[in-house]
Amino acid sequence: MTKAQQRPLIQEFRLLATPVVLFLLVFLGFPAIVNLIYSVSDVSFETLRQPELSGLKNFAAVWSDSAFWQASWFSFRFGLLTAVLECTLGLFLAIFLSPLIERRSWLMAILMLPLMVAPALVGLMYRLVLHEFVGPVPYYLWTYFGASLSFLGPGSAFWTLVVVETLQWTPFALLLFYMAYQAIPSEIAEASAMDGAKSHHRLWYIELPLMLPTIVVALLIRFIDGFRVFDNVYVLTGSGPGGSTASLSIYIYEAFFKQGAIGKAVAASVILFVVSFAVLYGLNFIASRRKGAIR
């Protein structure tokens, strides 16, 4: 009898959550199943509707493809490097500039501007910035140093991309850190000043430890976004030179659209899918356990 009262309530909540669940089933669930089927099938654009099971052949092909490993290595290195650079720079700027921004919040708007521009457009913009004839960077280097670099050449393309990504996304880290820094209660700073702490002591022993959770989260988000990078890298270098700047996203895109290797592209997707969700759920698990420990 008492259950009868609760049931309509829960049913009404279920009804409210139904649209989003249906939407996800259609637009993610169905693709996930197609992914799984095609990844173990022999399939081409001609045989899309009659895939023939072929076991783990596609996975073997991906596994033995040196380009796949090169792309994985690129994504990992790119994600890690940009995350560390962005967070270091962002942390420094957030703390060093906070006395200015506290009084004039529009300064933050200027610093946040790059976040509003599409990464694809920023990538295209750098084609202009770095262009050997019309780009200002080579021009100024020639004018003042008498030499310029081949920014998108074999040796330097990776580093150019790292700088491009870092300059666009440092503001994100800066914003997070600025907010975390502002959220530190001023009583804590005052109390430590009463205890005789110098400002660098305060930074090292009090402020940075309090900001640590935010720093970890920012590193994580920036690593993930760097790892799955596509837009700016794709428009700036394609995958070149010589496949050296293909991220995993670009590897899958090119396997499908340029080589028509559906099986390989799908198998790589499934690998990425499994790894991503395993890592993310692992992180969620750790985070929720730590939360529980703190409580």
Partner: protein, 354 residues
Amino acid sequence: MATISLKKAGKQYGNLEIIRELDLDLADGEFVVIVGPSGCGKSTLLRMIAGLEETTSGQIFIDGRDVTAASPVERKLAMVFQSYALYPHMTVRRNMGFGLKLAKLPADRIKAKVEAAAETLKLTHLLERYPKELSGGQRQRVAIGRAIVREPVGFLFDEPLSNLDAALRVDMRLEIAKLHRTLGATMIYVTHDQVEAMTLADRIVVMKDGRIMQQGSPQALYQTPANLFVAQFIGSPKMNLLPCRRSADGLDLSGEGSIRLPLSGPAAPAHLGARPEHLSLVSPDSGDCRGTIEVSEYLGGNTSVFVRAGKLGLINVSAPADTPYRIGETVGIRIDAASSSLFDDAGAAIAANR
């Protein structure tokens, strides 16, 4: 208006028992105050009656109708929340009329009812304002107004005054008492403040750990508490508890003094409960026990004197404002034994001497 009764009503969250098989009957038009320390289950009980919390065992009846499984609106009760819970995006008028609108009443009826209620609560000039433009007391009145317009069979109040400052709380308390007289409605009022309970209630229900410790009129609870918990909880300042043992002709106060008191039967008192106003300061030689004045608080109408009396501990005595005794002085304490209460080892009151 309505009678409300609970028959062995209980509430469990998993293994945790919040309310244990509780029986409670409200007469039509009665004002019952449920009081108890935080975590005693009083708010849960109120929300079970309201239908906001599931009742996991037992039954709830309103006017004899079993409403245990009924939705809040089917119970035809109105509730005033601690935080008022006014809809911030609606004017006072729309806040008060929302329930009527959901019940699909015609607009002119809603208008009439809202304006009548606003008139009663002196809210007419505030009808077009938003909650954020009102003071705490005004918000409280709107919350009450929202309850009135629906003409419920009973009102539920969940600590409605705890967000107000002290002066306003007294005013609102008087308004709620007046409202009860005008409407004559059945009301259940939850609070942790025993002063609110004493001043408002026809009947007080004292709860602890999901159980009713005692219920009765304010006078009954004050004068004849059924147990140590109620004795300590009701009354401000608190009742003094003096450890004691039965002696040949009355009570032995832990060797610090004695009282002659005819005790019958097998009563084995462990504590003598005496309210500060039932004690008086006398010269050291003439009291029932004696001690040294440690603190003396002048309160205007009287002086609250704290006497350190050996094993009896610190005793609070309500003395006249112009009491001649000073801090550090040794005084005697006379105990009005007839007004005191006796409790046994288990904390239950002993009625033998009454």
